[in-house]
């Protein structure tokens, strides 16, 4: 089978669906293909998302995909000292809702369909070839090989991203930048507070952190990510240890296991070329400090959809004409990444003892006075190297 389309979007995660929605809204032909048989499933995500980030993109909250609201974060040091931050006093990234991504992702794809995009599930892109004025992507749909001729392809194929590389872009993720993640969705979790997201730091998750994100009274995503440069065992061994030792999870039962890679090294070198844009995880749109990438996947998808549709209107699919996407994403997303990367480097340089000392000092700060500035002040007091690594940034 041969298909012709203006824009082909590969991957129906948050980035791909929003790119398809925005482009289709502008009246161009859009085909969205997804290798899985069910969009959104299995989830590979802890599902924490920023409420305001969704609203900014015109995504109205829907109880069908919100598992729970969260109103703050609990940071836990290796000796179990808790630092509580409330949403009212400090802006927290990836906080506000814990999603049901299996439902959310599907709804985002449905919005793309309503805007006019065609969708094909269980359709896997397997190669890309450049032709005059476009690309031909070969894909396997059920048992059939199809050739899709597109003027522009939007690579939204997530952390395993290959489409950008097929098009000749330098969009590889380096091993030292890929968090190796595993998570259980658990029932019977005894949360100290089931309305906040919880992050555990230190040697329980070398190179990353462990998390407990509430999805119900006693239901939570419990997981962790490790960097291979810091960890000497597979992620699942660390998680099983964490669950056994953490008072909140030791009696909980897993009803689901999820694994995945999270590219935390910042943006890939090239996210735009002739006839191609790369979005979401595939382009490295993940907060290097938190590993959160849902909001930025959605946002980068929107910019790609807008720019690609405009390029179709212009009849010019060259890199030069698509570079507006790079400008938009640098301005709105990428610029903050250097700051987060530095903060992450600093965090990873801390020993368990240092983390404990910092937590003890934070606990003394009056909760109502917490702001990024006061936190940095306290930090510099107990950890002078913070001044060196972070002082100029915040």
């Amino acid at each position: 089978m041969d298909i012709n389309t203006d824009i082909l979007v590969v991957g129906a995660g948050p980035a791909g669906s929003l790119a398809a929605r925005e482009a289709a809204r502008r009246g161009v032909d859009v085909l969205l293909i997804e290798l899985k048989s069910e969009i959104g499933s299995p989830k590979r995500c802890a599902e924490g998302v920023s409420k305001s980030g969704l609203l900014e993109l015109g995504i109205q909250p829907d109880p069908r995909w919100i598992a729970r609201k969260s109103n703050g974060v609990r940071l836990v040091s290796p000796d179990q000292t808790s630092v509580w931050l409330s949403e009212d006093t400090i802006e927290l990234p990836e906080s506000g809702y814990v999603l049901e991504r299996k439902v959310f992702d599907k709804h985002m794809a449905m919005d793309a369909a309503r805007a006019g995009a065609k969708i094909m599930v269980r359709t896997q892109a397997t190669s890309l070839e450049r032709v005059d004025n476009g690309v031909i992507v070969t894909a396997i749909h059920m048992d059939e090989e199809i050739k899709i001729h597109a003027k522009i392809v939007i690579a939204a194929d997530g952390p395993s991203s290959r489409v950008g590389r097929w098009a000749g872009l330098d969009s590889n993720t380096k091993t030292e930048n890929m968090e190796s993640c595993i998570q259980y969705e658990m029932a019977g979790v005894n949360m100290v507070n089931n309305n906040v997201i919880q992050l555990y730091f230190g040697s329980c998750a070398p190179g990353g952190y462990a998390w407990i994100f509430p999805k119900g009274e006693d239901i939570a995503n419990v997981g962790l990510g490790v960097l291979k440069t810091h960890a000497d065992r597979p992620a699942y061994e660390y998680l099983n240890e964490f669950i056994e030792n953490c008072p909140e999870t030791k009696d909980a039962q897993a009803v689901e296991v999820n694994v995945g890679g999270d590219p935390v090294g910042g943006l890939v070198k090239e996210r735009c070329g002739d006839n191609i844009l790369v979005v979401g995880d595939a382009a490295g749109f993940v907060n290097p400090l938190t590993g959160g990438g849902i909001n930025t996947a959605l946002e980068s998808g929107v910019y790609a959809g807008i720019v690609a549709a405009q390029a179709i209107d212009d009849g010019d699919y060259s890199k030069k004409n698509l570079e507006e996407y790079v400008k938009l994403t640098d301005e709105h997303i990428g610029e903050s990444y250097d700051k987060y990367k530095k903060a992450k480097e600093y965090l990873l340089s801390l020993s368990d003892d240092e983390l404990n000392k910092i937590a003890h000092e934070f606990v003394k700060v009056d909760i109502d006075e917490i702001s990024p500035k006061t936190l940095i002040k306290v930090l510099i007091k107990v950890s002078p190297k913070a001044l060196l690594k972070l002082g100029k940034l915040f």
Partner: protein, 53 residues
């Protein structure tokens, strides 16, 4: 390369393979032994240790 049955097809290995030798399907991964340069990166990144050289 041996791919264990408990692989969960997450694609973390494919993302870091510098020679693009790993193909991820819905419930299967395929490693192109001709492209593979035996660097072992995929073995290290796998969250569940599903690959063995």
């Amino acid at each position: 390369m041996i791919i264990k049955d408990y692989c969960l097809y997450c694609g973390a290995c494919a993302g870091v393979c510098q020679v693009d030798a790993i193909e991820v399907k819905e419930v299967k991964i395929v490693i192109d032994e001709e492209k593979c340069v035996n660097c072992g990166i995929c073995v290290k990144i796998c969250p569940v240790n599903a690959l063995e050289m």
